[in-house]
Every structure is written in C-alpha cells, then in structure tokens.
C-alpha cells in the first residue's frame, strides 16, 4: 500500500498543500494486469474513504475540480512501465501530490485545499472499469501555518550589572562634583565676605618726615 516517502527523509515531503509518496515500484507486476492499464492515484479525505466507489468507466473518473463535493478524486495517471523495478540508484523516485499549479486539463495534480487529513490508494483501470486496487494508506496530515508568537526578551545578568554599577558611579561622581563646587564657592565667597569691608575705615597716613630727614642729615 502507498506510504509517505519515508526511505529518504526530505524536508519538503509534507508542506501545507502538497505531500510526497514513494513510487509503488514493482507492485503492479501481476499477470492479471496488462501494460496498457491505467494506474491512478486516489486521494480522499480520511473521513470519506467509505464513500469511495471505483468508477465503472473512464468517463466517471472524478477529478480534482470536484474534490470538495465528492470528497475524493483521482490523479497522476500512469502505467506499469513507469512503476517498474529497474532503479537507477541515484534517482529519487517519488510522487508529489499537488505539484501542478497551472494546468488546464481535467486530470490535474492540483495542490490540496487544506491540511486534511487525507488517505490515498492506487487503482488500476482499463476501458471496462476497475481491475485492481491497493489498500488505503495511513492518515496524511499537512502542515497548518500558525502565527509566530511574540515573546518578551529577558534582561541578561550582564545588563543589570552594567546598569547598577554605572548608576552608582555616576551618582558618586555627581556628589563629589557638587561637593567640589560647594567647597570652591564657599572658599571664594567666604573670603570675599570677610574681605569686603562693612564700613569705610579711615586709615590715617602719617607723614614720617622726621624719620626720613635723619638719614639725609646723616649723609650730608
């Protein structure tokens, strides 16, 4: 039965509108099938797999355009030759459901309309109707994108250390500067107050003629 591409884990194997399956290589070699039979991939909502009935003729094949009403559709038409067992080891052989974003034919492999969940199976048909089918796969749920949450960044310890210590240093410096300025002002203003006379004091000038004249007399 079909399974998600698990052999080589790929980051893009499930997105919000596509998913990727391993190719069913070598599963259709039974002699009941012929090389001209069509091998279809049936995609259905998980809760609608019981509603699925294989179409009895190629005209009744449901397509992606009616997916939302019928809850299932068929796509990726292939033949046994494409799913043969001859592998080239380097090739990655997968089926990407939802790969075609612009096509005009009915059998489009269009992107899926929502997160699902979906189930798939393979159905082999020829012109007369269904020939064989596989079992349903497991549930496949696509990614639903969410809003990115806002998160508050916590303050680290380093920031708090810087803020606290620098605040302390700045305030100490400020106090020291203020003390300095007050001291300066006090000194200058203090001396000014003391030196500014409150009233005019008369200083009498004494004429010391007799003191000067004595040496004159002495010299002559």
């Amino acid at each position: 039965d079909p399974s998600l591409s698990g052999s080589t884990p790929l980051e893009g194997s499930i997105t919000s509108s596509t998913f990727t399956l391993d190719q069913p290589n070598g599963q259709f070699n039974s002699p009941d099938l012929s090389d001209t039979d069509d091998i279809w991939l049936v995609v259905a909502f998980s809760n609608a797999i019981n509603n699925f009935t294989a179409p009895q003729s190629p005209q009744g094949i449901p397509h992606a355009s009616t997916f939302l009403e019928k809850k299932y559709y068929m796509t990726i038409q292939a033949s046994r030759a494409l799913y043969s067992n001859e592998t080239n080891a380097q090739d990655i052989r997968i089926l990407r459901v939802g790969n075609e974003t612009s096509c005009t034919v009915n059998t489009c492999n269009a992107p899926l309309p929502g997160p699902g969940p979906y189930r798939v199976k393979f159905l082999v048909m020829n012109d007369n109707g269904p020939v064989a089918e596989t079992k349903w796969s497991e549930d496949i749920t696509l990614i639903e994108p969410e809003e990115v949450s806002e998160s508050r960044a916590p303050k680290s310890a380093g920031t708090i250390v810087i803020i606290v210590i620098l605040s302390i240093l700045l305030s100490l410096l400020f106090l020291a500067l203020v003390a300095l300025l007050v001291y300066t002002c006090f000194d200058i203003c203090g001396t000014q107050e003391i030196s500014r006379p409150e009233e005019c004091v008369q200083v009498r000038r004494y004429n010391t003629h007799h003191t000067y004249s004595t040496p004159e007399a002495g010299r002559s």
Partner: protein
Amino acid sequence: MAKGDSSVRCFQGLLIFGNVIIGMCGIALTAECIFFVSDQHSLYPLLEATDNDDIYGAAWIGIFVGISLFCLSVLGIVGIVKSNRKILLVYFILMFIVYAFEMASSVTAAVQRDFFTTNLFLRQMLERYQSKSQSNNDDIWKNRGVTETWDRLMLQEKCCGVNGPSDWQKYKSAFRDENNDADYPWPRQCCVMDSFYKPLNLDACKLGVSGYYHSKGCYDLISGPMNRHAWGVAWFGFAILCWTFCVLLGTMFYWSRIEY
C-alpha cells in the same frame, strides 16, 4: 603648591598616567565605534526594520565620547602638571558631562542587545520579506531593506530562514501570501544555484533533497556580528568608565590639596 615632595610627585605621576590611559582608551573607543557604524556585514536594514536600532546610536555617541575623552585627558594632564585649580575645575565639569553620555551609550548598547533573539528576526522576516504592502513610505523602505538583505544573506552565506527552511512552512508570512505553497515551499534563494544564479534542480530544491537546498538557518550569521558589536560598546564603555571614575576621584583629591 606642595613643596616638591617625592610623594606629591609620585601622586602627580600616577594621575598623569591615569589620564594617559584615558586618552588612549578614548582613541580605541572611537576606532571601535567607527568600525561598528561602518556595518561591514550590511545588516543595518534588519535592525532598522525592527525599530531597535539604538545600538547604532550608542556607537555614534561612542565615537564622540572617545574623541572628547582624548582631548579632556590632555587638559587634565596640563592641569595636573601646572597644578592650576581653574583648569582642573573645567576638566571636572566637562569630564562629568562626557561621563554621563558614555554611561548612556553603554547602558543603551547593553539593553538593546537583550532584544536580539531568534524570535525578533523571525517576526521581521515573516512580516517583511517580499511583502507588497504599500501602507506608507516608511514601510515600503523597510520592506525593501529586509528583502534585499535576506536575499543577499541567503545567496551568499548559503543559509535559509532564521531557524531553517521550515520557518516558511510553519508560520504564516507575507512571502506565503504572495507565493503559492506548492511552487514555493521556501524562497528560490534557498536553492543551491549554478553560476547563472538559476537553481541547480528546482524540483529537488522544492522537495528538500540535501545538496540542492540550504538547510541551515541564518540566525548565527546575523546574531554573531550584532552581539559582538553590542557587547563591545557596552563592556568597553563600562571598563573605561570604571577607570575614569578612579582617576577623577584621585584628581579631585589632588585638586583639594592645591594651595592657592
């Protein structure tokens, strides 16, 4: 003026040495901040878009503080040698102003650095990368800056998204609004390119086959330079301020002992 005692001379010598260190650190701070402002990694548009670009303001203040510290240290040396009270008073007042500015720069850089988380850049990338919103000129400018920066980052550094390409899948984004999920599970820039800047194998890139797309996230490449920038401004500024505090206190003590 003290009597030429050897202890006074020694103290003078110490203070002059302290001021020389301040001068040299001022030059180093200027050089460091010019280096950060020149934005060698061209990551400024990402910061600008987060409205958290005060780190650049802090670096600009650092440039001018560094030059002022150098000039003031010369003034301080002159004042100490001449034991001139007036010069030293001017020195103290100007140093205090420069001290306050440098403290602002250091604290801003430290606080802003705490905002740098994966979530911040993730939100910016999801909201603005390839966003076509035309609400106002500021938005258009920021969107363009973010888009060009991310394109260049993803192409040159070979990374995708903030945590990885699954960012584009897990979260709603402006990019997802513009590009359908099946064709563009992640931007084309996440694909390994050939020499003509075309994806080597587009289908393999869309599937996430290793070797055809970049699987690692770009967060380390963004946060590395920005963290170094922020811590450089913050801690170097802090160290300079601690040293300057000691030198200033010593000089104030010296000043108080100068006789008229």
